[in-house]
Symmetry: D3
Subunit: 224 residues, 6 copies
């Protein structure tokens, strides 16, 4: 990995997207003592090759049972606040009633330069969003509108997304193996260790291909 551009989020995220992956980031997080940073396994990408990396902008939806005045106000503000390199992270307290994301929000988020969205809840318009190439992760797909079912009550507060507490500004990385949250203060330490570990894995993989046993590889390199 080249010298890491820690002073330029966009460049850094592009490099992470190209060279790192969620599993090695988890291992690096373990090394620096963050062991609860992988979201629940039911938060899945909407297509095989979706990869997301960016700064978390969080929002919280809560179930409602009648239409509300200004029910879209906070959600509109959250999405309109997105800047290039941001990732929208939404919590719904695992609602199975509402659907908090869809094509128009994806369109608006992309237009603002956002890198993707991670929803602990449902999305709709999935075929269209796949075609747009917008990296989207969610717990399920459900065709209903949120009006009268769920309201975003605030944004940029800490939220529970996939049983990880995500604070605004944390770096979110998602690929086919899952979604990982890197606390903003640990970013440099995590990426440096992850980059180092990628190289190590190339060596052990090579030895296994050549026929070494796991025992031999582990005794030699001390890692699996």
């Amino acid at each position: 990995m080249p010298i890491l551009p820690f002073d330029d989020d966009q460049k850094l995220f592009a490099l992470m997207k190209e060279q790192l992956y969620s599993a090695v980031l988890c291992d690096a997080l373990d090394q620096v003592g963050y062991r609860q940073q992988a979201m629940r396994a039911d938060i899945r990408p909407i297509h095989l090759d979706a990869v997301v990396v960016g700064r978390a902008v969080t929002m919280q939806s809560v179930d409602v049972y009648e239409p509300e005045e200004n029910e879209y106000e906070q959600e509109i503000a959250a999405v309109d606040s997105l800047k290039p390199g941001d990732v929208l992270v939404a919590s719904t307290q695992q609602s199975t009633r509402t659907c908090v994301w869809g094509e128009l929000l994806s369109t608006a988020a992309m237009a603002r330069g956002a890198n993707g969205a991670v929803i602990d809840g449902y999305t709709r318009d999935v075929r269209l969003i796949q075609k747009m190439g917008f990296p989207l992760f969610s717990t399920g797909i459900y065709p209903v509108d949120s009006a009268g079912r769920g309201v975003v009550i605030n944004y940029n507060r800490p939220v529970n997304c996939g049983d990880v507490i995500v604070s605004p500004g944390d770096v979110v990385f998602g690929d086919y193996d899952g979604v990982v949250v890197i606390p903003k203060d640990a970013l440099r330490a995590v990426i440096e260790r992850a980059a180092a570990k990628v190289e190590g894995e190339n060596i052990t993989r090579e030895e296994l291909h050549k026929g070494a046993t796991l025992r031999q590889v582990f005794d030699k390199y001390g890692v699996l």
Copy 2:
């Protein structure tokens, strides 16, 4: 959308399949006061491009623990009763024991002209059914036979499929976003509103692409 052929199910369903989708039908159902018409999110299509639309023929399976005499009688009658444009809708009370659908039933249903099947339960022979192009939605895939595990006890009674009560003759629409049930008496009202909403969405999408904020679009059109 052209003048809608409400007197010709087959033409109407073909037009719906081509121009509508589950999300916009949900929105239209909301407008006419039906707010519980989307099936649970774990009822999924067996491939990305499956779309089903048609009149519901319902059947109910119940778990059993020994072989029964004439155990296939009601199931055979249900499938043999299918007419062009019908969709088989099966409930199993969310059984994880039996598998109520498979390739031979799909073959028989297609031969009768049925448009697809929606199963609140398990199916098998999925790769073959994908190849046949039969639109199939289910909660899971499981390789066992139903004999001695589940029996269809009746058909064309109201059933719970995905937590929506489906009556025979209701119109079922399913795509990648989920499965929606349109009560037969609301069909015209729902389709007319859905067709109108499709056009509205094209406009808002366009504005968002051009860089308008959600706030601006919402203030101008009053919808998301």
Copy 3:
């Protein structure tokens, strides 16, 4: 099906992979009185065309909450013990905390000649394992390492995998419809019946295509 090579596992498994499938094996197991041999429906292949067949080598993982000495010892021994034609079958007591399988273990298993792995638990490195063509079935995908989260405590003891008790040496067969376990002593009886049933299904399918009702087909052949 030609004369079955019951004295040559590798040939037998190749023939099974080519000509049989999980659903017909379930039906044959039913015929010989084994009715609980299909794993829970949430154990899924990591790609559409994954097919696995082979002799079970079992291992058991248990959740832990601190790193252990020699934590990889049993897991390394299990994987290094794999012989051509084996399938690694892992139980985690449905852990949602750890991830028991990944790319390096897949690489090591393939290098030993193993035919695949079935995990009642999570895997990671899924995109890489797909590319390797290693047939892998699991309950979910999760990017964390097992160190300090789960430890393999033994191997080649009976385990619960997907609510089927699997003993070392049982034959495991998995495809898109699910994973089935054939007790080692029932192998010949099951395969012979499965082969016979495949032929029968070709005939009934043909008649349904020609327009026969299910009733007619069932009355004539006595099976569905």
Copy 4:
């Protein structure tokens, strides 16, 4: 039952508490077409003889992950708004993180004259509340404080409590069999039918005691 004091809530509720019970109210609700009015079976009284009846004052709690300013404001307002004959009905979207009720709130509610509380969530201080004789129903018992875990975001909006939508002013009736919600506009019709049904049951019970079969009783009275 004497002439029912529909113009005096307190008298009416006292009479209901003495002479009616949740099961007969459900049957009466069925008769007038309300069939979804019994809360989920996991909402249980904290002691065997708890009976609650009164007008619903609703409130909604949502999980949070850091302390908030004025986090108690809405909860305080809700409890301080209670009038004699009211029942506090709280929804937490089935939170397992927070505990929305306890002894001090019970004390405050009793001091205002409230008749009890029904919580779709957890309570604490249960032994003390039992001693106070405050009728309390909840889904569980959990010793944590709500501060930094859950915040009441509003009150007297419709809420989902035990999968029944409860509107402010609906009449809530709970006993050992469960909690039932009587929509305010249906109150008179429901109580009149319930009172009539109580008398009918006394007759059928008597006949069964004397040895009549269910068949005879059903044929004679047409009910079970």
Copy 5:
């Protein structure tokens, strides 16, 4: 234990009720090779001292979504068929919609001489049934009527009750520790072993009271 009256069910059941308990019966069932005979732990008695023992009369309820003609026919027949010493065992496929048991059925069952009921589903009228002293076990308490929610479709067929398959005539034993099913053909063997084990436990308990370690007791008697 005196000579066991295997030719007189009523005497045998009275003796079992007095001297045996579910845990020791499980241990005896283990000894004779039946290891799946304890019902799921969520089937609980309605009071602390409920003990039930008797011959199973089984019935199966299935959810429905509209009233049916003759909806009570099978349920009436099942209860009216009860003879002294019988226990009603009901399966609902774990329905959370209906309530299959209540006071009138308890009254009718007691009047026929039945020894109790075990319901894999909900009951109502629980306080009254407690007062009647009718031993009742169920998964929950729910105040609704079954009409239009569930229908008994047959009786005296094998059913799944608490994940144990119960056949008519099996002996059911339930106390505060749970409900156990003794296959009818194993009854003598199980009771003889259970009676022997009760005596052994008295000895080991005594030694532990006197201060022996578990190690000493286990080394001496070979059991825990």
Copy 6:
């Protein structure tokens, strides 16, 4: 509260049992920054007045599917190691297959002077254990023996009990509101704060009884 005997566990635990309770200990733990110390709400005492306090001796059980040699070895060692003031804390990875505790183990634990047991899993012999007065908390009641179902694989390692990580030597406190774990290093700080809070609550309760609103009490004392 008198001067706290931090140098004498037995005296300290007796004082805690008499004057403190789980809710106030949770609040004190919150104050010192431990916010995840209450076990899941499904770990319940076996009777209303059970209170347990003591030093954790932990053990871990794992499901097995055949009898093992020396299957009781670790469990015997764990229980025989108990000293006065200890509490046995057992994890089973939430097994619904085995039953890890019962009367003989309770007898042995009491004979060693243990103060109680907390099981994230099932117990049996509950009526007897109630009569012994042994404070026992568990997730359920199930009559089977552990032999061939579960084996204790080690003791005095950190375990997950009710979703709290418990290390040997932590202080466990359980009453009707739930079970709380006090990390050993935080014991003094927690108890001092808890004692102070008990006094504060007496004052606010008094004011509410006299008719003060929650608002007034909160404005005056700054706590609820």
